[in-house]
């Protein structure tokens, strides 16, 4: 029955099958003993069967709790990832911070990586899940290399594959907690933690959806040069650093083009301006900033 349940998708993996099967076995053993010893009088056969089922269910629930945990919340997290198409290719940008709750713990985290020669993958959300996804994809790259038949996985195929992975994990109530940006020389798409996908001329995850998308909708053009595209992404990341508490002004910009394939820049700092006198000095003779 446990194997059938796994086949129907009710159980996640073979570990869950073991838990359920084991719980059922213990429960039936207990029922045998109970029936042989105590059955009679008010403890009828129906009562004994009920106790068997209840014991089995209780053990299975306890077993699943202690042996097979499901993702409840992310721990080490990256914030927004931005992507945009320009005249010649696609660019992806992100800062190099991974936060540990409200602590800015890892300031040199690489949240954009190349997958094969011509695909970029940027991730926000749980960093360990991104690492797990990279392991998965690098395994596929190795298989491609081993086949050595001239076929490689392109960005659109990687996007579709990740969609399947993310949706399957979501269906088992144990998601990979990421929003992913996939880019190729002529492709830009997003896959989120529940397996939603879309492609567009520009993409943003996390706070970028609220702070960067309005700017991109105003300023993006299909014929932007590489320099203009980079400037626009830097402007967006600057605004994100001003207003997103989990952002950093140390960033990476990556591009993928037909001619050069996928390249990720070294991290660098962007300039921010905190000099406005109106922020420093308040008028009206009030102490502090006039607020409390």
């Amino acid at each position: 029955m446990a194997v059938a349940a796994k086949g129907l998708g009710l159980l996640g993996g073979w570990g869950d099958v073991g838990v359920v099967g084991g719980a059922a076995f213990v429960a039936t053993m207990f029922e045998s003993w109970l029936g042989a010893t105590w059955q009679g009088g008010w403890i009828t056969n129906e009562v004994v069967n009920f106790i068997n089922t209840a014991v089995g269910a209780g053990l299975a629930i306890a077993g699943m709790g202690r042996l097979g945990q499901h993702t409840k919340y992310p721990i080490v997290t990256g914030t927004s990832v931005l992507g945009l198409r320009y005249n010649g290719g696609v660019m992806v940008a992100a800062d190099t911070l991974c936060s540990y709750g409200s602590m800015a713990k890892y300031k040199d985290a690489r949240r954009i990586r190349t997958v094969g020669p011509a695909t970029l993958l940027g991730a926000s959300g749980e960093y360990s899940d991104f690492q797990s996804i990279m392991d998965m994809l690098e395994g596929m790259e190795q298989q491609n290399a081993n086949f050595d038949d001239g076929h490689n996985t392109d960005a659109q195929q990687t996007h579709s594959y990740l969609r399947a992975v993310m949706y399957q994990r979501r269906s088992k109530m144990n998601p990979l907690w990421n929003d992913l940006v996939v880019a190729g020389p002529n492709f830009l798409g997003l896959v989120d933690k529940i397996g939603t996908t879309y492609t567009d001329n520009f993409i943003a995850t996390g706070f970028g959806s609220y702070l960067a998308i309005p700017i991109l909708r105003k300023k993006w053009r299909p014929d932007m040069s590489e320099g203009e595209a980079r400037g626009l992404l830097e402007d967006c990341l600057k605004v994100l650093f001003y207003r997103d508490c989990r952002a950093l002004n140390r960033i990476q910009i990556a591009k993928v083009t037909e001619g050069e394939g996928a390249i990720v820049s070294e991290p660098y700092e962007i300039e921010t301006d905190w000099s406005a006198a109106s922020f420093a000095t308040t008028k009206g003779g009030l102490e502090g900033d006039g607020g409390w």
């Binding site: 706070f207 609220y210 702070l211 960067a212 998308i213 309005p214 700017i215 909708r217 105003k218 402007d235 600057k238 605004v239 001003y242 207003r243 406005a276 006198a277 109106s278 922020f279 308040t282 008028k283 009206g284 003779g285 009030l286 900033d289 006039g290 607020g291 409390w292």
Partner: protein, 209 residues
Amino acid sequence: GMSEFTAAETPASIAPPPAGFSFENVKRNASLASSSSGGAYTQAKAMKTGTTIVGTIFKGGVVLGADTRATGDTTVIVTACTLLKRMLFRYQGHVSAALVLGGCDINGPHVYQIYPHGSTGKLPYTTMGSGSLAAMSVFESEWKEDMTEDEAKGLVERAISAGIYNDLGSGSNCDTCVIRTDGSVQMNRGVLQENPVQPLRAAIKRSDR
């Protein structure tokens, strides 16, 4: 005639209500919601409206802006920041008003943000509402010190537009208000009319036409 049906003075339902909150329906609502009314009536929840509101100082005053979807009443209540925050604090956040307060006094132009629980911030520019991030992204890209009135008005209009087009809780058109240090006030209702409602209303086929 029947004197009980002729009102000697304006009925209370038409005259403007006195200041403050009216609690005349509390008893009625409670009895309707109770089991003695047959359980058919479920009380409607208070509506939260999204909005985009912004304010910025410039060299000669302040400019305030708002989208028109949340604007209902046209009265503009001008009260000092302290009175507002004290009142909001007393209501412990149950008065769900997030405000941008702007004005000029002897010390120059000022903009405050006031939150429903009564906390305040004094800033050169601020945004509030569900569209505040869209509007703030415009401010953070383009705000500078000592703007002229036209520059400030243009910036406010662009910030409200960002809220109108990118936030689902904001929409329609933009109102602005300029309050100058010389004491003059200019209310611009519908300064941006990019989403006119009249053609949409005219297109509805009504059965009585």
